[in-house]
């Protein structure tokens, strides 16, 4: 279990727990880790649009240089652009300064491996070990690393995406897209991508601004009302919203309906497995049954993993999967790279609409729909594991449970749906997901298992 790194890197409130001094020490620890692995390590660093980005970028850079690593600064980039650059330009590590969709007072540090995937837990543990031991390998004056800037990363990435789609076919369609970058890092790539694909573009909040003046950076329904309204008013073919570092995308169909991440995930899973056999799709245990339905119908295989995009990406590569992703709009297309990528998702969406010659709402009507109810219950970190164990012991005697999946937390399948209970990796919480075909069943499942979790927590709190 890592103390500093959460599910998606290190996060904190600027100049409270996320200070320059801290970033400097992390740079030294990370640089020491790289020095142990390779000679003359090279690091590439980028940021999203937050106000404190350069502050943290410069301090972590100082730490890398002091341990003898060379640093290339690529400026403001979407996270997937940095990941693409790491692999294509053969850096030993990538550093992304971002707090993704978190409010503006937050910032964070995300680590990328040489292959472009997010850091594994093992790597994060090693770096943390060095950080807490303070055994940094600082070099003498003549071996300090060199620093340079490079402004070609976003072009490299953009051309990479364009090489995976039939540009002319998409251009011929002449799509009208409403694009909401939420003042995030997507602003520096997505508008250009759409223009290169011959789209008419209506831009909302496509200027990078770390105060997020347009709306909060998480693309949930209440934050994208203006996008929905604009799609309807302008009768556009599609609306898209990106999160702060542009690794996740949420779509609005041509009728102005908000498309949930689960629906997009199933839509692309269907597209990638149709008319093929034994294709593998990877997704965490939290994803909807609709994904299983479409993939199984196409004679494909779904592999369920623990929650966390780095895990999904790694399993995809191991299993040679055709597609994968999360229910939050983070989709992974292995033909470009093994990471969540909103601009790539956008390009593939336009390809899908072009190839099928159907509207998004009509494509979605093919996808089976389920109702998901998500709840969270407060629980001290110290008792999470015991609570989990005692719930597990209890349900073993429940005859209604058809199947138990312990990949991540406890997932119980019933005749009419499933429930997943899992302790959060980053917050003092239990998350309870319930899914069923019918709203009432989902509500009932959710209610009864919330009570069970609550009871177990109380029992353990008392002891």
């Amino acid at each position: 279990m890592t103390e500093l790194f959460g599910t998606n890197g290190i996060r904190g409130i600027v100049n409270k727990d996320m200070t320059s001094d801290f970033a400097l020490q992390i740079g030294k620890a990370w640089g020491t880790y790289l020095q142990r692995k390779t000679d003359n390590p090279s690091v590439v660093i980028g940021t999203d649009a937050r106000l404190s980005n350069t502050m943290l970028k410069y301090s972590i850079t100082a730490g890398f240089l002091a341990t003898g690593c060379d640093v290339t600064d690529i400026g403001l980039v979407p996270t997937p652009s940095l990941q693409y650059t790491v692999r294509m330009k053969q850096f030993d590590s990538g550093v992304m300064i971002t707090a993704s969709h978190n409010p503006p007072e937050f910032n964070g540090i995300k680590g990328i491996d040489a292959d472009g995937t997010e850091f594994s837990k093992k790597t994060e543990e090693e770096i943390e070990g060095i950080y807490f031991s303070k055994c940094y390998k600082l070099v003498s004056w003549d071996a300090v690393g060199s620093y340079k800037t490079w402004d070609g990363a976003n072009d490299l990435y953009l051309n990479g995406i364009l090489s995976t789609v039939d540009i002319d076919a998409i251009k011929d369609h002449g799509f009208h897209v409403v694009l909401d970058c939420g003042n995030g890092a997507g602003s520096v790539v997505a508008p250009l991508l759409l223009k290169k694909l011959g789209c008419k573009v209506t831009e909302l909040y496509c200027e990078p601004d770390g105060r997020f003046p347009g709306h909060p950076s998480e693309p949930v329904p209440e934050n994208v009302k203006e996008l929905i309204r604009t799609v309807k008013e302008e009768q556009a073919d599609l609306g898209i919203a990106q999160d702060g570092d542009a690794d996740r995308a949420i779509f609005i169909d041509e009728k102005g309906a908000y498309v949930w991440g689960d629906q997009t995930l199933s839509l692309f899973a269907n597209y990638h497995t149709k008319n093929k056999k034994n294709c593998i799709v990877v997704t965490p245990v939290t994803s909807s049954t609709s994904l299983d339905d479409v993939v199984e119908k196409n004679n494909g295989i779904v592999v369920h993993t623990q929650v966390g995009s780095p895990i999904v990406a790694r399993v995809m590569r191991e299993k040679n999967a055709v597609f994968g992703g999360e229910e939050n709009g983070g989709l992974i297309f292995p033909e470009l790279q093994y990471c969540r990528d909103s601009a790539m998702t956008l390009a593939k969406m336009l390809e899908l609409l072009t190839v099928t010659e159907r509207s998004l709402s009509s494509l979605l009507s093919d996808i089976p729909q389920y109702i998901v109810v998500k709840k969270k219950i407060h629980c001290k970190d110290s008792i999470k594991q015991e609570v989990m164990r005692s719930i597990h012991d209890d349900v073993l005697n429940d005859d209604n449970v058809i199947r138990i999946d312990t990949t991540d937390g406890l997932k119980l399948y019933f005749k009419n749906g499933w429930v997943l209970m899992r302790p959060s990796g980053t917050e003092p919480l239990f998350r309870i997901y319930a899914e069923a075909k019918w709203s009432r069943d989902a509500e009932d499942l959710s209610k009864s298992f919330c009570t069970i979790v609550q009871d177990h927590i109380q029992k353990h709190e008392r002891t």
Partner: protein, 464 residues
């Protein structure tokens, strides 16, 4: 990692230390916090431009330093790895409140440090630097909340800097100039601009070399052998050498003679400034030749204390056309106040462009007087008292005494300067005179005067 900061890195004109021993990124991060607090709290301003020389350790130090500045809410503009002049120029042109340059000037490559200037290029005087020191050592800083943090603005000053010289200098003749950058920061600006301006460049150590392996970065005469032989062999009109960061230049004439800062200053005053009026700033160590050569053609001379910070400070106050520091800092405020040494060879070339005489010919009328330097041991506790007593005695005895920095007595046939060293238990005696005989007389006289007080103080201390 350095946990406690050695307070001796804070010096009279800058901050300096050995990388990995006295200074490292953590120390520079804290200096950034202190300097940011000085800028925001003490000055009530926000804008600072920062650059660094090409020493290998400058990369890690400058990034940590900027990060500290930014954490306090400062608006930092970063010029990157540049010559001293490029960063000062950018700060001056962009109307900044402070300018910082990460460098250890002419010191060996294992050293590094940082210099501070106000937006107009006047260096921060010692008492202001000590305020920064106190903020750093006493941890008096505030790391601001997210909405007060301003993203760093990276800029590339190369073009605007070059354009400035292109619009201020032009030449009819292809003056042949040997340029010795010593592999240091001036390699980043000087050779290309010299060529651009149509001068005939003969490069000496003009490739970047962060370890200064070709020559030490202090442009002392003994370090300039390659330049001198190149000037002679290549029949150059003159040669120029710069120190590590580029705030000092040394001129070599067409016969290979290395000029003192005083000689160069006299040439600039006599031939480089058409108006020939106003107050020329010189420090107390400058040769009497400066006054002799420049007053009779219209200038007034003002003698000030040693230290290039004072040079720019007084030049600003007096609206001077020229400033000369015996250590090699020269300024021509018609262009800018700060001591970017690049302007000096460009001016020398301009002078040579408009005359048929060689630099060696122009120097013929300028006398070089014999000069002597002595060190008199004296304890740190008493050295300043010795100077006070000597000052009192000399003021009573002589007509022309300057006590701004030590005691400087002007006599009919020469002068003597007695100063306490700031860093060592030494009193320094410098004298200059018309002849060797006069010089010996003056030196002996002032050596005796000084030693008498040294002995008296020693006795008094012993008795106590």
């Amino acid at each position: 990692m350095i946990e406690t900061i050695n307070q001796h890195i804070f010096r009279a004109y800058d901050i300096r230390g050995l990388y990995g021993k006295d200074i490292d990124p953590t120390v520079f991060y804290r200096i950034g916090l202190g300097a940011g607090t000085y800028l925001l709290k003490h000055m009530g301003k926000t804008k600072i431009t920062v650059g660094n020389d090409l020493r290998q350790s400058s990369h890690s130090l400058v990034h940590a330093f900027i990060s500290g500045l930014t954490a306090t809410g400062a608006q930092v503009t970063f010029t990157g790895t540049t010559s001293f002049g490029q960063t000062l120029f950018a700060g001056w042109k962009n109307d900044q409140d402070l300018i910082s340059f990460v460098t250890a000037s002419h010191l060996p490559p294992e050293w590094n440090g940082v210099k501070f200037y106000f937006g107009d290029g006047v260096g921060l005087p010692e008492e202001e630097l000590m305020k920064i020191r106190d903020y750093v050592l006493q941890h008096q800083w505030t790391e601001r909340a997210w909405q007060d943090i301003k993203p760093v603005i990276p800029i590339d000053p190369i073009r605007s800097y070059a354009d400035f010289f292109r619009s201020n200098f032009s030449y009819k003749k292809p003056i042949r100039v040997a340029v010795d950058c010593g592999g240091a920061s001036m390699t980043l600006s000087v050779p290309s601009i010299i060529k651009d301006l149509g001068l005939d460049l003969v490069p000496v150590y003009c490739e970047p070399d962060p370890s200064f392996s070709q020559r030490p970065s202090d442009p002392k005469e003994e370090n300039l052998k390659t330049l001198v032989s190149t000037v002679k062999k290549e029949s150059c009109d003159f040669g120029v050498a710069f120190d590590g960061d580029g705030d000092r230049s040394v001129i070599v004439d067409n016969k290979g003679n290395v000029l003192s800062a005083d000689q160069t200053g006299i040439i600039l005053g006599k031939y480089g400034i058409p108006s020939k009026g106003g107050t020329v700033i010189v420090n107390v160590e400058c040769s009497k030749a400066v006054e002799e050569q420049l007053t009779h053609i219209g200038y007034t001379i003002k003698q000030i204390q040693v230290g290039h910070t004072f040079l720019t400070l007084y030049a600003k106050k007096e609206r001077s056309p020229l400033g000369i520091e015996s250590s090699g800092h020269l300024i021509l405020p018609q262009y800018f106040l700060f001591d970017d040494a690049f302007v000096i060879p460009l001016k020398i070339a301009e002078i040579l462009d408009s005359t048929s005489q060689s630099l060696h010919d122009l120097l013929k009328d300028i006398p070089i007087y014999p000069r002597k330097k002595l060190e008199i041991p004296c304890s740190d506790e008493t050295k300043f008292d010795v100077i006070t007593h000597l000052a009192k005695e000399c003021t009573n005895e002589y007509d022309d005494v300057n006590t701004l920095d030590g005691v400087r007595v002007s006599l009919e046939k020469g002068w003597a300067l007695v100063r306490a060293s700031n860093t060592s238990p030494i009193i320094r005696l410098t004298a200059e005179a018309d002849t060797e005989k006069d010089l010996n007389e003056i030196t002996t006289l002032f050596e005796k005067k000084t030693e008498r007080y040294v002995d008296e103080m020693k006795m008094a201390a012993h008795m106590a």
